[in-house]
């Protein structure tokens, strides 16, 4: 345990504990009467908190645990709200958070933040990002060290409750302006770091944070409920189980989504090299008349894309036929017409672009100069990738949506969504690929940094492969 030095509160005479000595400590707050004293001004009383904290769970002051394999002691904490509040009751879990002040003998001060069921570890940084975040707006890109960050939110944080020793004077209802930017994660790496800017009345500070996947057991065992000073073993076990279970569920879902994304990529990759065509229609077409009609349906036609129709004259001599294909419900929407066929050249491959919505098509066979019996074997095919493209698209969108709901790696999922839509557009209108590809690379390179550029380039190569 940390070494203790005890002094008494000038207001209620209760003992107050220092968990370490430092010239950086500004205030100490009495755990019994909530009176805050200035350490640097001979323990002058500053202010007193009278907020109700019943039922709020927090880690006990003095708890020692490890983060990043470094031993830290919880020496104080501040509860913040994102608006002036008289009580935490009625606020939802994302509207207030606890910021623990940590101290390590080797690493100095750091912060552990608990918000909405998750823990984050922050430490102050003195190198500055570009541009500075004091005027940053949502979705702005910030460059810090070798990473790019996207501004997620800006808000005012109001101190609601203060405990223990702090390196700054946190006064109830005092507010600081904060801007949070999250590192732009790509498909190949996800750091999920947070760069946080904080401006108070006296200074501007930057903090670098990262999520803690599983909090050290010593800290979890130190969790207790305010106004209930004795540690309850049962209670802490429950908290631990709840916390672990929430974390593991989240991890499980994230793993599942990652698996889906990998499977989609894997299937797409197989289909990319799969040249075998998928048969969507086959019919023997017999005619003994000068003009014959046949209706065929294109079921499961997913994408407006070129379809290959192979017509093969199986029977008949000296024939000279003319094929016309048009939508069955439209007399004027002719897709292909006047396709000459003859016995000298019995096989014809006709490419046409059917409408996505027109499922029934009319095929007319006209005799030009012969009335000989003719049998045509019609085989309509579609490349495999085109056929399953929409299925892949839907799976991707489901994954994207789930990823978005989990608010984890949001940028990566949005990137994937945009890239998928672009692939879809290019698949329908191939000529747009050059322009869209270049725009996409430019956009991701500027917005998402290195990972976005890699991702964009990957999709660009994929598009070119599909088209070539």
């Amino acid at each position: 345990m940390a070494s203790l030095k005890s002094i008494r509160c000038k207001y209620c005479s209760a003992p107050m504990h220092f968990y370490h000595e430092s010239r950086q400590i500004e205030t100490i707050t009495c755990e019994y009467c909530n009176q805050t004293h200035s350490v640097k001004e001979n323990f002058k009383t500053l202010y007193r908190y009278q907020k109700s904290m019943n039922g709020v769970r927090r880690i006990l002051l003095g708890t020692v645990g490890k983060i990043k394999n470094i031993e830290f002691t919880i020496i104080g904490y501040v509860i913040y709200t994102n608006g002036k509040a008289e009580s935490l009751n009625g606020l939802n879990s994302s509207e207030w958070w606890i910021e623990y002040q940590l101290y390590s003998k080797t690493h100095g001060y750091a912060y552990l933040t608990y918000e909405d069921g998750s823990y984050y570890f922050y430490h102050r940084v003195y190198d500055l990002p570009k541009p500075l975040m004091n005027h940053a707006k949502e979705l702005d890109t910030i460059y810090f060290r070798d990473n790019s960050f996207t501004v997620e939110e800006s808000y005012n944080a109001y101190a609601y409750f203060v405990a223990g020793t702090l390196t700054w004077k946190a006064k109830v209802a005092d507010s600081s302006y904060c801007v949070d930017a999250k590192s732009s994660s790509g498909w190949f790496s996800r750091t999920n770091n947070i760069l946080s800017y904080e401006r108070s009345k006296t200074e501007e500070e930057y903090f670098l944070g990262e999520p803690i996947e599983s909090l050290d057991e010593s800290f979890l065992n130190g969790i207790t409920t305010l106004k209930q000073q004795k540690k309850s073993t049962k209670g802490t076990n429950r908290v631990k189980k709840e916390s672990m279970s929430r974390d593991s569920k989240r991890q499980y879902l994230l793993s599942l989504i990652s698996l889906i994304a990998f499977l989609v990529s894997f299937v797409a990759l197989i289909l990319l090299f799969q040249t075998e065509e998928y048969k969507i229609f086959q019919q023997d077409f017999k005619t003994t008349k000068k003009e014959s009609n046949a209706t065929f349906e294109l079921n499961n036609l997913n994408v407006k894309h070129t379809i290959q129709l192979k017509a093969n004259i199986l029977l008949g001599e000296k024939v000279h036929k003319e094929l016309t294909i048009r939508e069955a419900n439209s007399s004027y929407n002719t897709l292909e017409k006047d396709i000459d066929m003859s016995s000298k050249n019995p096989t014809k491959t006709i490419s046409f672009e059917p409408s996505i919505w027109g499922k029934k098509y009319l095929l007319t066979l006209k005799d030009k100069n012969s009335t000989a019996n003719t049998t045509l074997k019609l085989t309509m095919t579609q490349p495999l990738l085109k056929r399953y493209f929409v299925v892949l698209l839907i799976v991707s969108i489901i994954g994207i949506f789930l990823g978005y709901l989990l608010k984890d790696g949001k940028e990566a999922w949005i990137t994937l969504l945009i890239a998928t839509i672009l692939v879809y557009i290019v698949a329908m209108y191939p000529s747009s690929f050059l322009f869209l590809g270049l725009v996409m690379i430019g956009y991701f390179a500027s917005k998402l940094g290195e990972n976005g550029l890699v991702g964009a380039f990957f999709f660009y190569v994929l598009i070119i492969n599909i088209l070539l």
Partner: protein
């Protein structure tokens, strides 16, 4: 001078004479000062207690692409604790100082600033004021004094236990640039450098 021996006990001294002027004999714990190529015994100084520190003497650490070797340290005390100044050499044997204070590490090297300018700044600068040094604006972030408690390893200058050190810390308003101005025993020194993120250091403390 290939080999240096302790004038007190005769044991071999591990001393990098290019930079080191002060060292401690591992055998008899005498403090040895190198003056005009002659060794002078300064007697025994206070041994420093072994306090937790991210740096360890003679254990290399890496920061970014650069590797550093700490070869000496001075400890200064102030009202509620202490901080340490570590003397380190980079891979090209260039000397630097790393100030270690409660997890805050600043890597600095000495830079030229007229004595009168250092004197004026230490005397006149007040906390939170902005001053201009060599065309750049700095904010005074700390102004205090410490008392030398002792040293360990090798140092490039002689120190005396109990000496007061007046110092001024200044941070650039535009970039990660820090200046330390010091006055110790009538000598004035200026250092410039940048803050190191301790979580980015590859420490070999095993």
């Amino acid at each position: 001078m290939n080999r240096l021996n302790c004038p007190q006990c005769g044991d071999v001294l591990n001393m990098n004479i290019k930079y080191s002027k002060l060292t401690r004999c591992n055998s008899c714990k005498s403090t040895i000062f190198l003056e005009d190529d002659a060794l002078k015994n300064l007697g025994k100084m206070n041994l420093l207690s072994d306090e937790p520190s991210p740096l360890k003497l003679h254990q290399k650490f890496r920061y970014g692409k650069q590797e550093y070797l700490p070869i000496g340290k001075i400890r200064y005390a102030y009202e509620l604790g202490f901080w340490e100044e570590w003397f380190v050499l980079d891979e090209k044997q260039k000397p630097y100082w790393i100030s270690v204070d409660e997890g805050n590490l600043i890597l600095e090297k000495s830079f030229e600033l007229p004595k009168s300018e250092i004197q004026r700044l230490i005397k006149e600068s007040r906390l939170s004021r902005t001053v201009t040094i060599q065309g750049k604006r700095y904010r005074v972030t700390e102004r205090d004094e410490g008392v030398c408690q002792g040293f360990d390893g090798e140092l490039p200058r002689a120190i005396r236990v109990g000496t007061k050190l007046n110092y001024l810390h200044l941070s650039s308003l535009e970039e990660n640039l820090h200046i330390t101005l010091e006055e110790e025993d009538g000598e004035y020194m200026a250092y410039i450098g940048s803050w190191l993120d301790i979580y980015e250091m590859e420490l070999n403390n095993g």
